[in-house]
Amino acid sequence: MTRNSPLKATDLSVGYGDTAIIKNVNLEIAAGQITALVGPNGCGKSTLLKTFARILKPMTGHVTLQGQPITAYPTRDVATRLAILPQGPVAPEGLTVTELVAQGRFPHQTLFRQWSPGDREAVERAMHLTDLEDFANRPVHSLSGGQRQRCWLAMVLAQDTPLLLLDEPTTFLDLKVQVDLMALLSRIVHEDGRTMVLVLHELNLAAAFADRIVMMRDGEIVAEGSGSEVICPDELRAVFDLRSDVIADPETGRPVCLPRTPDHVARQALAAAAE
């Protein structure tokens, strides 16, 4: 894994002005897996994702994409290797689902070679994977939140890149839709052999679907490993200031975090004292 990591951050510090939001991060993304970046608001996980995609420039350190410094690639070449879905994207009014998904072909086209059978195939495949065929000619605006998120996902899938970076793809979606979307992402990664980095808010979604979890706090990586390695009460307390119990999902064995309120903790302490 170390040798073949398609995306790597080395001594990376990123910030705005003089303030560093990410400090000295070293991270190797594992090929063919889902890596979830988790951490409290403002911990720098989105900033890290954007720096991975070259949307932000690092203050120090560098990002390596498929063995070469990411700055060495022309902008368009980066976009054929790595696709990013920013947080909460908004489609221009009137854009249809097919038109949006077709935008994903942008880096594969030039001014004079605008639309090829390969482009059409990639768009159709992406729409099939995300189950959007029935909405093909509907305006993106008229769809529900979950359907819209699938459209954007289809767009980055149509980009046909080995690497996918998604910034909070499940935010504002119903629980059922979140789970469906995560299952879809998991399928895409493990069946298509792609590599995915996700910023996730929802810890239990990360625990249930990610192969690796990277926990961040104050711009630094605090813990890194499989779900069962990093999701434990001590880590959660250190990273999120969250008191919790962690149990294993009886079916999958994956960790499930049960948040505890101060009341609950006090009651536990009382019960322990009574014994």
Partner: protein, 332 residues
């Protein structure tokens, strides 16, 4: 774009182009003495020396129709690019200070410093448009909340009003020099000569080509800067090119017709209703529809109160203002 859509778009494009040709011929045929369309057509395709109507058509009336077409296309495309790149439905050269800056620069440069010579007009207009745009954007950015559509409009109104006041003062102080600018200042296609137009022509052409070349990137930018960057668009480069293109197109239009308000706002919105959100379609259709629109408006300006002629800019403003108000209510 799939095949059906391409055919649809192509058909629509040729229909609109046919409409523009008709409007162009009609524009020429209307006037103090009506000239039949057939004669207009002959005058253009097979002119004969000594036929009085042919001379009227070619030397007196056709230039103005050509101005109308060029100015309408340029302003509409400029507005479309601005709306796409800034994702601001209310962006257009008039509202965001480019026209005010260009007009101001032309008045001061040509009239005040006496830099006569029509070759300078587009250059002055371009410098003024750029300064106007930067000024409006800087002021809006300094406002609490930054450069939002609302602060940009307010800042545009303030800059426009300020520059207009200085223009008015300059004109009052030097009435003789500025006699010719009076009409031009309200946006008019009357009284401009072909020489001015020919100096502006390369600017029109360059602006149009640049707009068509970056149309694909503008579509991506309209989906948000980060999305565009993720798709492989060099967002900074495209924004700089787009600004340059808008400045060049505005400068060319101002040189020929003075400020024609709201054309760049109205046309792209109308076009979007029919062709959707792809700037590869929006740009050429805006050019065609805008050309037809200004030509028709200019016919109205000459006909409605004939023999008195209203400034074309007054008509475009009267037609555009209601849409502007509607957009503010619907989109802000």
């Amino acid at each position: 774009m799939n095949a059906t859509r391409t055919i649809f778009a192509a058909t629509g494009f040729w229909l609109c182009l046919g409409g523009v040709v008709l409007a162009f011929l009609w524009h020429i045929s209307v006037g103090a003495k009506a000239i039949p369309l057939v004669t207009v057509w002959q005058a253009i395709t097979a002119p004969q020396d000594g036929v009085f109507d042919h001379v009227v058509v070619r030397d007196l009336r056709m230039p103005r129709a050509i101005f109308a077409i060029s100015v309408g296309a340029a302003l509409s495309v400029a507005g479309a690019l601005m709306q796409g790149v800034t994702r601001n439905p209310l962006a257009e050269p008039g509202i965001l200070g480019l026209m005010a800056g260009a007009t101001f620069a032309v008045i001061i440069g040509i009239g005040w410093f006496g830099l006569a010579g029509t070759a300078y007009v587009p250059l002055f207009a371009a410098i003024g448009a750029l300064i106007g745009a930067v000024l409006v954007w800087t002021i809006a950015s300094a406002a609490p909340g930054g450069a939002t559509p609302l602060t940009l409009i307010l800042s545009g109104a303030a800059v426009g009003g300020f520059l207009y006041a200085i223009e008015s003062a300059a004109i009052l102080l030097n009435e003789d020099t500025f006699r010719n600018f009076r009409v031009w200042l309200s946006g008019s296609l009357a009284g401009r000569d072909m020489a001015t137009y020919l100096w502006a022509l390369p600017w029109f052409i360059a602006g149009m080509i640049a707009a068509l070349v970056i149309a694909r990137q503008v579509t991506a930018l309209a989906m948000g800067e980060e999305t565009a960057a993720g798709l492989g668009v060099d967002t900074f480069k495209i924004k700089v090119i787009a600004l340059g293109t808008v400045v060049v197109l505005t400068a060319a239009a101002i040189s020929v017709a003075g400020p024609l308000g709201f054309v760049g706002l109205v046309i792209p919105h109308v076009v979007r209703l029919f062709v959707g959100s792809d700037y590869r379609l929006i740009v050429p259709f805006s050019a065609i529809v805008g050309a037809g629109y200004v030509t028709l408006v200019d016919i109205a300006a000459r006909v409605v109160l004939a023999p008195i002629e209203i400034s074309t800019g007054i008509v475009t403003t009267m037609l555009g203002a209601p849409l502007f108000i509607w957009l503010v209510r619907a989109k802000l």
